[in-house]
Symmetry: C2
Subunit: 194 residues, 2 copies
DNA sequence: CCGTCAATTGACACAGTGTCAAGTTACGCA
DNA sequence: TGCGTAACTTGACACTGTGTCAATTGACGG
């Protein structure tokens, strides 16, 4: 039945998620996922036509489970652009480590895979519009630092808060997530708030 | 003879470089490289034992041809930390587009390939020590902005000037390289110089 | 008890990397 | 002039991982 099918589907998604996080998205094969889900390799293909399809579905699944939308409500409820910025860094900075593996995998195949690119861009445009909201709020309060235009500020903020930047600072430089959030808040305020 | 061997080797390196830049490192196969170099696929293996070996050698080759060391002399000759920072952004910012393809390819396989990781880390540690020199200069002049420690400033500067950040701003946000350099100078001064 | 749907099993095609062995070409040197 | 060697070619093959296909099993509901 549908519930049974859903169970297997969910099993696959969970297995994919788990393996992606464990191995940071590197060298996770369809057969590994099948084994982890306790089913045959071919059964995976009954639910997801390609590896990229599975990757995209897992991304959406992880988003749902983690409830990014729910968490971002704190940001929209902020009283000022400054508060929104602080809240955003908190939410986003705590969200990134949870999607580390799957995001890394998506990022890696996005160059060659249309579906992966789509899943990634989807997530990124959401993130970018979050940054844009903050910039607009700062601007309307007259607190956006001089020299920045609406779009250049949004884009620079988006890049500063990108997955890649987070990954470099935490994984390659060894910063703790708390450090990341602290320093990032500091540099963002210094840069964008007057 | 050796000169002939060198010629073939150079042909391969040039072909690899060219293809990597053309396709931004995506989908460049050994057979493509061989064809572009005008030799058989197997001949490539006579000079480079694996794909990663070739990638690493091409990186070194590109570095030599481009003469990064030479260009960085301008930085070491700067009179102040501030001048060094400005010069560094100029040199590095004009260097990045020239290594776009090969750097992207290296970055992509570095997770799975030890040799690629080594080649990348080599380049990165050079870049990081460049940042460190600037931070030290600023610090000795008493012009390093408050709150930053020696290492946190170096690391943050390194990340701001990373290939990934450059790629996001130029490729994904569509900034021109001149824009990148201008804005990057602005944010770096604002952040690190008091 | 039959039909259906999920899942299994095992085989296969395909692409790309890397290996191997045998044959060819070119060039320096006796 | 011809020999030997090193570079290169040719064609075959093993291996891994993805995706496909067909035949079969097993469970559950009508």
């Amino acid at each position: 039945m549908s519930s049974n099918a859903l169970n297997t589907r969910t099993k696959i998604l969970n297995a994919t998620w788990k393996l992606m996080e464990e191995r940071r998205g590197v060298g996770v094969r369809m057969s590994d996922i099948a084994k982890a889900a306790g089913i045959s390799r071919q059964a995976v293909y009954l639910h997801f036509s390609t590896r990229v399809d599975l990757l995209g579905a897992t991304t959406k699944y992880v988003d749902e489970i983690n409830g990014l939308d729910e968490r971002l409500k704190v940001v929209t409820q902020a009283k000022s652009g400054f508060d929104a910025l602080m809240a955003y860094v908190d939410v986003w900075g705590n969200y990134l480590p949870e999607i580390h593996g799957i995001a890394g995998a998506l990022l890696a195949v996005r160059e060659t895979d249309e579906a992966a690119k789509a899943a990634w861009d989807d997530c990124m445009s959401c993130h970018q519009s979050g940054c844009h909201d903050i910039v607009k709020a700062l601007q309307s309060e007259g607190r956006l630092a001089a020299n920045w235009t609406d779009s250049s500020a949004t884009e620079m903020m988006w890049v500063l808060l990108s997955f890649q930047t987070w990954e470099q600072l935490t994984v390659e430089c060894g910063w703790s997530n708390a450090q990341y959030i602290t320093w990032m808040k500091s540099i963002l305020v210094q840069t964008f708030v007057s």
